[in-house]
C-alpha cells in the first residue's frame, strides 16, 4: 500500500508512465545492420564510467607541476584500489573512442545520416572531436616524460596552420612552451569545459535521435520491404544489457590484467625521449604527418598535412550534404571512401607501431 502511494507520489510529479509509454512505443528495426545500434548505448556506458572514475581520481589528483606525477603515483600505490580506478579510467577512454569510431563509420557505410538526420550526424562528429580532445588533454595529466613529449608534439601541430597557428599553440599551452601552466590548463579543460560540452552535445544528439527515430538501412528502404521491429522498452533494452555486461567484463579484465604504468616525473630540461608516440587513436594522424615531405615547392609539408586533415574533417562533417543521392554513382563512391579510410587508418597505425 505504501509502495503504491509512493509510486503515485512520484507519478504525479514526474509523469514516469508517459516516459515509459513513449519508450514502449519507440520501435527498433531488426535487420542485418541492427548490431550497429548497440554501439550508441555502449558509448554512453563508457562515458558514464569515465565520469564516475574521473570523479574518484579528481579527489586525489593535484594538477600542479610539483605534485601531478607524485599524486598519480600516490593513487597507484597508496590509495586502496587506486590503480584499478586509474586503469579503468584509461581503458574506458580507449574503448569509448574505439566505439565512437565504429559508430560513426557504421553510419557512414549504412548512410544513416540521410535527410533529415544531418544534424544528428554533425553532433556525432563534434562528439568524436570532444572525445579525442578528452584523450589528448588527459594524456598530459600524469606528467611523465612520455606525456610531456607527446603533448609538446601535439600542441606544436596547430603551429603549421597559416595565420592563426601560432596563436592556437600559445592558447593550448598557456605560453610559448609546455609548462606547469599547460598542465593546469589541460586539467581545467579536461574536467570542466569538455564535460559540459559533451553533456550538451549528448543531450542534443539524443534529442535528435528521439525526434527522428532510428534510421532504417538504405537497402530496405529501396526495396520498400517491411522490416521487423521490436519495442525499445523492454525488448531492446534487455538486449543492450547483454552487450553492456560483456563490455563491462572486458573492460575490467583489461584494466586489471593490463594496467597502465607511470613513467618518472617529466623533466622540462630533458631531451625528448626516443620513440615518442601518442595514444593509439592518434597514430594514423601522427604517421600521416611523418610521411609528408618537408617541403612541397614553397610550402612546408606540415602546413600541407594540417590543411589536408582540416579539409578531410570539413568533408567528414558535411558528408550528409554531399551524399544526397546515395543510390547514384557519387553515393557509391562515398561508401567506398569509408572502406578506403578504414584501410588507410589501419595501415598507418600499423606502420607507426613498427
Amino acid at each position: 500500500m505504501k509502495v503504491k502511494k509512493l509510486h503515485e507520489w512520484f507519478e504525479d510529479r514526474l509523469g514516469l508512465s508517459d516516459i515509459l509509454g513513449f519508450l514502449t512505443k519507440k520501435e527498433i528495426p531488426q535487420h542485418k545492420h541492427t548490431i550497429w545500434y548497440y554501439t550508441g548505448s555502449a558509448i554512453l556506458m563508457f562515458f558514464v564510467i569515465q565520469v564516475v572514475t574521473g570523479f574518484v581520481l579528481a579527489f586525489y589528483y593535484k594538477p600542479t607541476l610539483e605534485e601531478a606525477n607524485a599524486s598519480v603515483a600516490r593513487i597507484m600505490t597508496e590509495v586502496p584500489m587506486g590503480w584499478i580506478m586509474r586503469s579503468v579510467h584509461s581503458w574506458s577512454a580507449s574503448f569509448m573512442i574505439a566505439i565512437v569510431f565504429i559508430h560513426l563509420l557504421s553510419i557512414w557505410i549504412t548512410k544513416s545520416y540521410r535527410q533529415p538526420r544531418e544534424l544528428t550526424w554533425m553532433s556525432g562528429v563534434f562528439l568524436l572531436l570532444i572525445s579525442l580532445f578528452f584523450g589528448f588533454t588527459g594524456y598530459l595529466l600524469p606528467w611523465d616524460e612520455l606525456s610531456l613529449s607527446a603533448t609538446k608534439v601535439g600542441t606544436d601541430i596547430p603551429r603549421a596552420i597559416p595565420g592563426v597557428g601560432v596563436w592556437v599553440t600559445k592558447l593550448l599551452r598557456g605560453g610559448e612552451d609546455v609548462t606547469g601552466d599547460t598542465l593546469t590548463r589541460f586539467f581545467g579543460i579536461h574536467v570542466s569545459i569538455l564535460p559540459v560540452l559533451a553533456f550538451l552535445l549528448l543531450a542534443v544528439h539524443i534529442f535528435l535521435i528521439q525526434k527522428h527515430g532510428i534510421s532504417y538501412p538504405l537497402d530496405s528502404e529501396r526495396q520498400s520491404s517491411r522490416i521487423k521491429t521490436i519495442p525499445f522498452w523492454p525488448n531492446f533494452v534487455y538486449r543492450e544489457m547483454v552487450v553492456w555486461l560483456v563490455l563491462l567484463g572486458v573492460l575490467l579484465t583489461a584494466a586489471i590484467l593490463l594496467p597502465n604504468a607511470l613513467g618518472g616525473p617529466a623533466d622540462l630540461m630533458a631531451p625528448a625521449p626516443e620513440g615518442i608516440k601518442p595514444e593509439w587513436y592518434f597514430l594514423f594522424l601522427f604517421q600521416t604527418l611523418k610521411i609528408f615531405p618537408a617541403h612541397v615547392i614553397f610550402v612546408s609539408g606540415e602546413t600541407l598535412a594540417v590543411l589536408a586533415m582540416a579539409l578531410f574533417l570539413a568533408l567528414f562533417l558535411f558528408l550528409p550534404f554531399f551524399d544526397t543521392k546515395p543510390e547514384e554513382r557519387r553515393g557509391k563512391i562515398i561508401t567506398a571512401s569509408a572502406y578506403a579510410f578504414i584501410a588507410y587508418a589501419v595501415l598507418m597505425t600499423v606502420w607507426s607501431l613498427l
Binding site: 610559448e176 521490436i230 525488448n235 590484467l257 597502465n260 623533466d267 622540462l268 630540461m269 606540415e302
Partner: protein, 146 residues
C-alpha cells in the same frame, strides 16, 4: 529449512585455485612506493626550448624534427634532478593477498556475467514471445511483423 548454496563448494574451489595457479606462473609486478618527486622537477625556469634526440634515419613530425627546438635554462637544483634516472611505477596488486583477491574477483565477475546473460536471455525470449502475440498491445494483432 536448509538453504542450499548457490554455487557448489567445488566450483568455489576452482575459482580460487585457477587464479592462484595463474598467479604463480605469471611474472611478478612491482608496485613500490616512491620518494618526493617534487624535488626532481622543482622550479625550472623556461625561456628557451631543448634539443631533442632524433633516431637516425627516422623522420618525426613537427617539434621533434624542428632544429629550432626550445632550449631550457637550467637551475642547479633542477640539473641535479635531471641526472637522477626516474623510476617507472608499474600498476598492479601490492602483495600476493591483493593479487589473489583481484583474480578471484575476476573469476566471480565473469561467472556473474554468465549467469546474468543466461537470465537476460530467458527474459528476452519471454518478452519477445509476449510481443509476438500482442500481449501488451492495446490493439490486438499488432505484434511483430515477420
Amino acid at each position: 529449512m536448509r538453504i542450499r548454496p548457490t554455487v557448489s563448494p567445488l566450483l568455489g574451489q576452482i575459482i580460487v585455485v585457477i587464479p592462484a595457479l595463474l598467479l604463480l606462473t605469471s611474472p611478478p609486478v612491482a608496485a613500490g612506493g616512491r620518494g618526493d618527486r617534487a624535488a626532481l622537477i622543482a622550479g625550472p625556469e623556461i625561456s628557451k626550448l631543448s634539443t631533442p634526440r632524433i633516431r637516425p634515419g627516422s623522420r618525426e613530425p613537427s617539434l621533434i624534427r624542428n632544429p629550432t627546438m626550445p632550449q631550457v635554462q637550467t637551475e642547479p637544483g633542477a640539473q641535479a634532478g635531471a641526472e637522477t634516472q626516474p623510476e617507472k611505477i608499474f600498476a598492479g596488486p601490492k602483495d600476493i593477498k591483493e593479487r589473489i583477491a583481484v583474480y578471484v574477483f575476476l573469476g566471480w565477475l565473469w561467472l556473474s556475467i554468465a549467469v546474468l546473460i543466461y537470465l537476460l536471455r530467458l527474459k528476452i525470449r519471454e518478452i519477445d514471445r509476449l510481443y509476438d502475440f500482442s500481449y501488451f498491445s492495446a490493439d490486438p494483432g499488432k505484434g511483430r511483423e515477420d
